[in-house]
Symmetry: C2
Subunit: 259 residues, 2 copies
């Protein structure tokens, strides 16, 4: 690959053959050289997992003309590490984009999301990184309205750069809910999952469980990502990897730690 154009690393968690990543590659291709390293199978909800108890493999994939693409048997974060430390020999891409995820990654879902964990890993490596998600789980989801959102945010990120220590978490409402009202920079809404396990019996009569859950947000702040997407906006949350609750340090220092 020629070295005069910026290098853009693309990954996701739905797997290299998901329509979302193809859309993303198409939209970032005008902005630079593109290297794709993505999981060989769905890796949703893998969070920031990495593979240390087993080994990794890479396989060249024919994804799109003019694009170097590899599938990996690991997690989204493994893909980022393999791209940088194996394929690029330790040098960093100029931009990392992850997604477009089939499904929302608003609020606390950022913690479970493989798509966003790949972007967070990019930020940890000092790379300007953006995770894109569409609020539609369907494999045949319509990404048309997401395309200009990708272009706008990639253009702004290339022009302005991103500060150290964070990446962007971008969520786009599902198609068919009227035209997008614009892009809003937000904070991560407070929310929780009301989980449930559906018990079933296997043929030998032994119980097993499927996780089902309902997402509940009672944080109605108009500065939140949940409010933004519920009201027709694209949400952009700057997402950092410093997890320190700095405000709590003073209170913990009042404890008697000597006993």
């Amino acid at each position: 690959m020629a070295n005069d154009k910026p290098l853009i690393l693309v990954t996701n968690d739905d797997g290299i053959f998901a329509p979302g990543i193809r859309t993303l590659v198409e939209e970032v291709l005008p902005f630079g050289r593109v290297l794709v390293v993505a999981p060989d199978k769905p890796q949703s909800a893998m969070g920031h997992a990495i593979t240390i108890h087993s080994f990794l493999r890479l396989a060249r994939v024919d994804l799109m003309e003019g694009v170097e693409a590899w599938s990996c048997n690991g997690t989204p974060v493994d893909c980022v590490k393999l791209a940088i430390y194996k394929l690029l020999g330790g040098s960093k891409p100029d931009l990392l984009v992850s997604g477009i995820n089939h499904g929302a990654n608003i609020s606390i879902n950022v913690l479970y999301s493989g798509t966003m964990s790949a972007a967070v890993e990019g930020a940890m490596e000092g790379i300007p990184s953006i995770g894109f998600s569409l609020m539609d789980h369907a494999i045949e989801a319509d990404f048309t309205h997401v395309r200009p959102v990708v272009r706008s945010l990639v253009k702004n990120t290339q022009e302005h750069g991103l500060g150290q220590g964070y990446c962007l978490n971008v969520n786009v409402p599902k198609a068919g809910k009227g035209p997008l009202k614009g892009i809003r920079v937000c904070r991560q809404a407070r929310a929780n999952w009301e989980d449930e396990f559906e018990a079933r019996l296997d043929p030998s009569g032994k119980e097993y469980y499927w996780l089902k859950g309902e997402f509940r947000s009672e944080d109605h702040g108009e500065d939140t990502d949940v409010w933004a997407v519920d009201n027709g906006f694209v949400s952009v949350v700057p997402t950092q990897f410093d997890m320190t609750a700095h405000h709590a340090i003073a209170a913990l220092n009042t404890w008697d730690h000597g006993r």
Copy 2:
């Protein structure tokens, strides 16, 4: 189990038969009733992964007298969800402790750590939660000096409670480095992993890779967890699940998002 004593949920990522979790159970048993739900095999570096593409199982385990213990085929976060939403029918334990991890979870390792992700999940459920890690990967690690640290922090947490939105990330230096100098409340140090992939050939001549990495911290702040453990202290970092980079919102609002 009688209902008058607080209920303490114990989990880890090294698996239910690791010496670290046995030590933790022994130390928290005087503080309440204990329910153990932990992975049936090592789940280190699984981060906040949950199991959604497959099913989960629970199996009763005979761990210790007077302790209800279950192993689970999923991740540490799966264990927390199964404990609350399957075994406890949706009611929350009064305290969650995770560990004692065989290995450090200082600095950015909090993001990769299954031990800490279980504690973060507890915080997301509104449960006072603490993750304990010993800076010694060995299976035969000496946990003797960690025992009073567990008792001190559990006692303080039961007396003072923890604020909403965060848990505690506790790291204890390896045994044999002199007596502990005390407990220090810290922030998560900035650091990175200088990764490397060791390539090998399988018997058919196909390449595969093992992740190797070197942890590098150039953040020498005396208020960091890295400084604390390097200087003989126990580090305690309040660790939150709001990943918003609040300070970055203003800068992102100066971008032209309309184009």
